[in-house]
Symmetry: C2
Subunit: 256 residues, 2 copies
DNA sequence: CGCGATTTGTGCACGTCTTCACAAGCGCCT
DNA sequence: AGGCGCTTGTGAAGACGTGCACAAATCGCG
């Protein structure tokens, strides 16, 4: 469209610059580009072509260009993208210019691992509170943070502006915890418990379910096995089957 | 299409029953249906309607019916689906009739949590080995399993038929570990390290990246904030905006 | 046995996502 | 200044996924 627009230069404060509304699929890939860009920046690259960046992020280069074009025109034809500028832009769009506060509820097996994870801090987040319902866990100090009782959530929310709640409790408690989070104004939840949460409109929930990932892989194992198991059996149908691809979300086979 | 087919009744051994090739989106939802079905079975339900099951799984009922129709015709019009039969069918398709062996590489912070997770066993998997490169970790016993050195991988693979490798090492080591897994015949990998893996064709990789999930949520927070920040500012465009949805992969706002 | 209530399975239309292919733009070199 | 090679940004086409709406099928009951 128009040439050098600046939909939201990170330097500009004041009026909200009307985020371009990105396709959801694009939003899901921006963090991957961002990670690749940080790696490139650390390696000393000042610019990168769509080909180079797409390889680093494991996607098709046309897709990458279309994704980035939604943010505006930040590339230079014949040259590529300015790494630092692109990092700035993506971080702005993702809302990472402010370090967002995360409340982690459920400091058990998994919760401990998450609480000790440095990838939070290095990727734009800050664990603002650790919460648990078990009195014997309350008071424990992990990584400089003291575990508080989950009923203190309103107090915590009053102290900090919580952006995201992470649920790492057993499935049976997850809905109740979600309700508590919503009640104190949290509108984004990451759920590790294997269950469906119901939340009011306007609240976003994303889930991470390890078993689901394994089961999807299991399916592909099963499928691969059932294909290789027919070497010369002239059974029913199954004629051509030229490529027999699988990938979609699954990344697959990137040469080099 | 045809009426009562049995593309692969779980009882039948012998010839491989030619898996129907399912849309990837369907495959990704089957595990969710399976979980919901197990819950229903535990609650004593013998049958369930597409409406009921779809509500329990958090999806649209038409989508659920279309998904299930890809497996064959296992419902009864006017009645619904037989819970036990459907569980059998989905488990068969997902390849869960055999308990698959998982090798977990990287027994650090996260690896410990995974090793102690009972969701593996209860959802069709068995941790067959814990592996780490750190000599001081080798020999440690977790949950009845002894941590072995990652260089023992060939030995482990010879003892067990490894179906899936899980990588929970730092990003810097992940590619090397992936290569080692592929070398011993593993064709499905679940990667927790924040990096792109390159693997030969035919090997499936799925990744779980916590920071990406948080950044996607951050984007939606940012977007929501930039919308509510314009209450009466007759700025540019942004006229109607009736619903202002967001969900796609993000589940959102299911009443009740 | 027939009828109405119920629920599945699916044709169809629509929207989203991906990929190709190429014109437009940029920098560099002569 | 002009031309050349490289890379972006995007139109268009196709693949894929979604959801409505309804015909077909089944059950229970009178
Ligand atoms: N451990 C893993 O590797 C892993 C992997 C994937 C998913 N998960 C899921 O993550 C969740 C946590 O797993 P875990 O292994 O850490 O379990 P866990 O039992 O070790 O820890 C759960 C914690 O939640 C706390 N809790 C219970 N009810 C609560 C409530 N109402 N409010 C606040 N805290 C409450 C408990 O006191 C406990 O500390 C489970 O749903 C599990 O299925 C775990
Ligand atoms: N801790 C979390 O909650 C969390 C969450 C999301 C993602 N991750 C990612 O998971 C990975 C592991 O995180 P962590 O916190 O457990 O780190 P960690 O440092 O605690 O553990 C890593 C383990 O891998 C082992 N290791 C290193 N190189 C190896 C090799 N070549 N072969 C085998 N083992 C090797 C180390 O000895 C160590 O035991 C990281 O990539 C991290 O980014 C962690």
């Amino acid at each position: 469209m128009s040439q050098h627009r600046h939909p939201g230069a990170p330097g500009r404060a004041g009026a909200v610059p009307a985020l371009p509304d990105l396709p959801e699929a694009t939003v899901a890939r921006l963090p991957e580009y961002l990670r690749a860009l940080h790696n490139l920046a650390d390696a000393g690259h000042e610019t990168v072509s769509s080909e180079g960046l797409s390889a680093a992020a494991g996607v098709n280069s046309a897709k990458l260009r279309k994704d980035l074009s939604h943010l505006g025109s930040y590339g230079t034809r014949g040259v590529g993208y300015d790494v630092a500028l692109l990092i700035e832009q993506i971080e702005y769009v993702l809302g990472l210019t402010q370090r967002r506060a995360v409340a982690l509820v459920g400091v058990g097996n998994l919760g401990h691992a998450l609480a000790g994870y440095d990838g939070f801090a290095s990727r734009g987040f800050r664990i603002a509170a650790l919460l648990d319902a078990d009195p014997s866990r309350v008071g424990e100090e992990i990584n400089g943070l003291v575990v508080r009782h989950v009923d203190d959530l309103p107090t915590v929310a009053a102290e900090e502006s919580l952006a995201i709640g992470v649920i790492a409790t057993p499935a049976g408690a997850a809905q109740q915890v979600a309700d508590q989070l919503v009640a104190v104004g949290v509108t984004s939840i990451l759920n590790f418990a294997p269950c469906v949460l119901s939340v009011p409109e306007g609240v976003d929930v994303r889930k991470v379910d390890l078993a689901i990932e394994l089961q999807i892989l299991s399916f592909h194992e099963h499928r691969k096995a059932s294909l290789t198991a027919l070497p010369a059996t002239g059974g029913t149908a199954l004629t051509a089957l030229p490529g027999g691809f699988a990938a979609t979300d699954t990344q697959e086979a990137i040469g080099t």
